[in-house]
């Protein structure tokens, strides 16, 4: 996609910015040179380079375009919530150049045609790369394997059953084995369906007080224990999506120490919000897995810093207003997150949870590696997917500034610091502030 050399012959010089490229251990004030959609050089211009266009990045950070491991565009099937076009625009304005979509669209992503449709829509929108996970089981029904070889050939970056349960452990084992046959990474959502059924809040003090059906920590940890045993059995490469508990982070760390091929991520709201935020029945804080305790939040932050979680994603789930205009348990879970991924990430640096280079790694090279994509780097020759942001720019997230069609975020009204001023996709400027 976006082989832009003919459409976008611009030679761009990005001058005077602080270039942070964790994949190449680079953090220095340097110029970046873009030609034919690719990174032509960093530091010294290539011989004979004459810029058609110069971006003054002084006082700004220049880093690889962000790679978001989990973003729902709602297309196909729920275009009343959002579309590939609307959400890739929101991504671009948030400095995100690659979105990875889970397969639970309507219809689910289970054939090469489904992948093709998404690719064509994304290309037409032209604002971000949109890659997809394929269904692990047919129709995500949890019973019959999907045609994974065909999915891989069509370009899916992994397989997943999204939030849907597998019928039984044997199906899961066979699905993992089959995926391993084709060297596909399996993206697992750690949930024991029987333990979490009907729940809408962390089973703890707040849910007890509010009378909300709870989801115990064990719904996550029991599933991870089972899944890790099967990873060991099958040798599949597994990625645990959006973990929510301290105990889960510990289990993944232990498995990594033991040499199992497992990675994991966390969604950024879980690094800020806790069960306390659902008090007063704030449906914008209704998320699955549920927001856990303050202790869990602290341990999740530690796990990101230490690299046990090598990616932070937005877990973007845009909704139409009606989806949240119901009593808390009946609302649709999820937070719209593309607009806030970068500024909330930068807040972690401000709060000294991690260094800026570590944060950018978790937003670029970390997730790119999990997806097996060549992006997330400013290495010479790679596609010029670049995010330039002003780390000091403060702005208010409100209905006039949010770009996603989904306004469902508990961060609405927050003053945020740090904003993308320019986003380049394959050397083409897709966003300027």
């Amino acid at each position: 996609m976006m082989t832009s050399s003919t459409q976008h012959p611009d030679r761009i010089r990005i001058s005077g910015g602080r270039v942070i490229d964790p994949a190449n251990n680079l953090d220095a004030v340097l110029d970046v040179f873009v030609a034919d959609g690719n990174i032509a050089a960093v530091g010294t211009p290539p011989d004979g380079f004459i810029a058609d266009h110069e971006i003054d990045a002084s006082g700004r950070i220049v880093c690889p375009g962000l790679v978001d491991l989990c973003a729902r565009t709602r297309e196909p099937g729920q275009e009343h919530k959002a579309t590939i076009a609307s959400e890739s625009l929101a991504a671009a304005s948030g400095g995100i150049t690659t979105l990875c979509c889970p397969p639970d669209t309507y219809p689910v992503v289970e054939t090469p045609a489904d992948i093709e449709l998404i690719r064509l829509r994304a290309e037409a929108a032209g604002k971000a790369r949109v890659v997809t996970l394929g269904a692990l089981t047919r129709g995500l029904d949890g019973e019959y394997l999907s045609e994974m070889a065909a999915l891989k050939k069509a370009g899916c970056v992994g397989v997943s059953n999204a939030l849907r349960p597998l019928a039984n452990t044997q199906v899961l084992r066979r699905a993992l084995e089959y995926a391993a046959t084709f060297d596909l990474t399996v993206f697992l959502y750690a949930d024991d369906h029987w333990l979490s059924a009907n729940g809408c809040a962390h089973e703890g003090k707040v849910a007890t007080r509010m009378g909300l059906p709870g989801i115990p920590q064990a719904a996550e940890t029991a599933a991870i224990a089972r899944d890790l045993a099967l990873v060991e059995q099958t040798g599949v490469r597994a990625h645990f999506c959006r973990l929510s508990t301290a105990r889960a982070a510990h289990m993944v760390a232990r498995a990594q120490f033991d040499g199992l091929p497992v990675t994991a991520d966390v969604a950024i709201p879980y690094l800020y919000l806790t069960e306390i935020d659902i008090r007063e029945f704030d449906s914008n804080c209704h998320v699955i897995p549920p927001l856990r305790t303050t202790e869990d939040r602290q341990r999740l932050r530690d796990a990101v810093q230490r690299g046990i979680f090598s990616a932070i994603c937005s877990d973007h789930q845009p909704h139409d207003p009606d989806a949240k205009l119901r009593p808390f348990p009946s609302t649709e879970p999820g937070i719209s997150g593309l607009d806030t991924l970068l500024p909330l990430g930068l807040r972690l640096v401000d709060e000294q949870v991690m260094k800026l280079g570590e944060l950018i790694h978790r937003l670029t090279a970390g997730p790119a590696r999990i997806l097996g994509l060549p992006g997330g780097t400013l290495a010479v020759g790679s596609a010029a997917d670049i995010c330039i942001f002003d780390p000091e720019l403060t702005w208010l997230l409100d209905p006039s500034t949010i770009k996603s069609h989904g306004h469902n975020t508990p961060f609405m009204g927050w003053e945020l610091k740090g904003r993308a001023t320019h986003t380049l996709l394959a050397g083409r400027l897709v966003h300027t502030l």
């Binding site: 003090k205 007890t208 007080r209 009378g211 909300l212 205009l325 009593p327 808390f328 009946s330």
Partner: protein, 324 residues
């Protein structure tokens, strides 16, 4: 918006009545005192006062109820209000109208107050948040969250029988605490009145996580839990709970947690037995206890009318202030 600021006006008076949480001790006592004055009315031959004449109250019930709806209706009628009962079962939801649309349509008919029961925790809060400013919302039970008028009528009954000093009382709540909005509201009310010892008694499957954080002592043995109790509140055990993995059988539950005259021997000699109804005789308690001299179960029902009159008139009093 916090519950306190949602259900109280700037002067700390009731605007909606959504939960016991968010009330202060004085307001709770004011409601009980007001209810006491209405208890006289319900005992007169002409059982009506004109306080809410010309007002329209809608009982909006998304979940089946006989006792609660009836006593709310009687309370409203005794306050001379016009009452409309709307029962919206699950099948109406299938028709596609959202809760908010239902609300807007009723508001268009110039309703002054909604009395709401809903299966979702937080439903009354949701409606109060979205209702027009002149409309009051009374929670008649939302999911597992709160049933504040039931708790108030229980407290009212205890106060009548035991006097106003809750500090010397030991109250045991027995049964399905996990799923009970009644228990949650009772516990908050008892804590607000500084009750000496609040206990909950149930097998672990029917006790919510971190129950102690509600301000109670947890017992899994009936006789230990009701030892020296001044008040025992039994909770209804829903039949459907018997079919899940929560309890093996009605028989075993009755054996272990059913209250009998014999087991009552460990309680205080003048123990008061309460139940929000409807009772499963031979499950939560035997008939001897339900109909015995310690039981105030029917008084609870009677008091329910006075308490609901108090809450409705107080919330509507606020409303008069808004319109003036």
């Amino acid at each position: 918006m916090s519950t306190a600021s949602l259900q109280l006006d700037a002067h700390g008076r009731l605007k909606h009545f959504l939960s016991i949480e968010g009330l202060n001790n004085q307001l709770l006592i004011d409601i009980l005192d007001t209810a006491e004055s209405f208890a006289g009315v319900t005992e007169q031959t002409v059982k009506k006062v004109p306080l809410l004449r010309g007002k329209t109250i809608v009982n909006l019930f998304f979940e089946a109820s006989t006792r609660t709806r009836t006593t709310f209706e009687l309370a409203a009628k005794r306050l001379s209000a016009d009452v409309l009962n709307i029962n919206i079962t699950q099948s109406s939801a299938v028709k596609g109208e959202t809760l908010l649309d239902t609300l807007r349509n009723l508001e268009a008919m110039h309703v002054d107050m909604f009395v709401v029961r809903h299966t979702d925790s937080g439903a009354a809060h949701f409606i109060a948040n979205h209702a027009a400013p002149h409309v009051s919302v009374i929670n008649a039970g939302d999911g597992r969250h709160a049933h504040p008028t039931q708790a108030l009528l229980d407290i009212f009954t205890i106060r009548r029988v035991k006097g106003p000093d809750f500090g010397r009382l030991r109250v045991a709540i027995v049964g399905d605490i996990l799923h009970s909005r009644v228990a949650r509201s009772q516990i908050h009310a008892l804590n607000l009145l500084n009750t000496g010892d609040i206990r909950i008694v149930a097998p672990k499957t029917l006790v919510p996580a971190y129950a102690e954080s509600l301000g109670v002592h947890v017992y899994h043995d009936l006789e230990a839990g009701i030892e020296a109790a001044d008040v025992i509140i039994m909770l209804r055990l829903q039949r459907e709970r018997m079919q899940g993995a929560l309890l093996p059988s009605e028989h075993e539950y009755y054996e272990l947690f059913g209250v009998t005259e014999e087991k009552l021997a460990v309680a205080s000699p003048d123990v008061t037995i309460m139940h929000p109804g409807p009772i499963n005789r031979g499950v939560e308690m035997d008939s001897e206890v339900a109909d015995g001299s310690h039981s105030v179960i029917l008084e609870q029902v009677t008091h329910g009318i006075a308490v609901r009159m108090a809450v409705m008139s107080m919330a509507m009093h606020h409303q008069k202030k808004v319109t003036q």
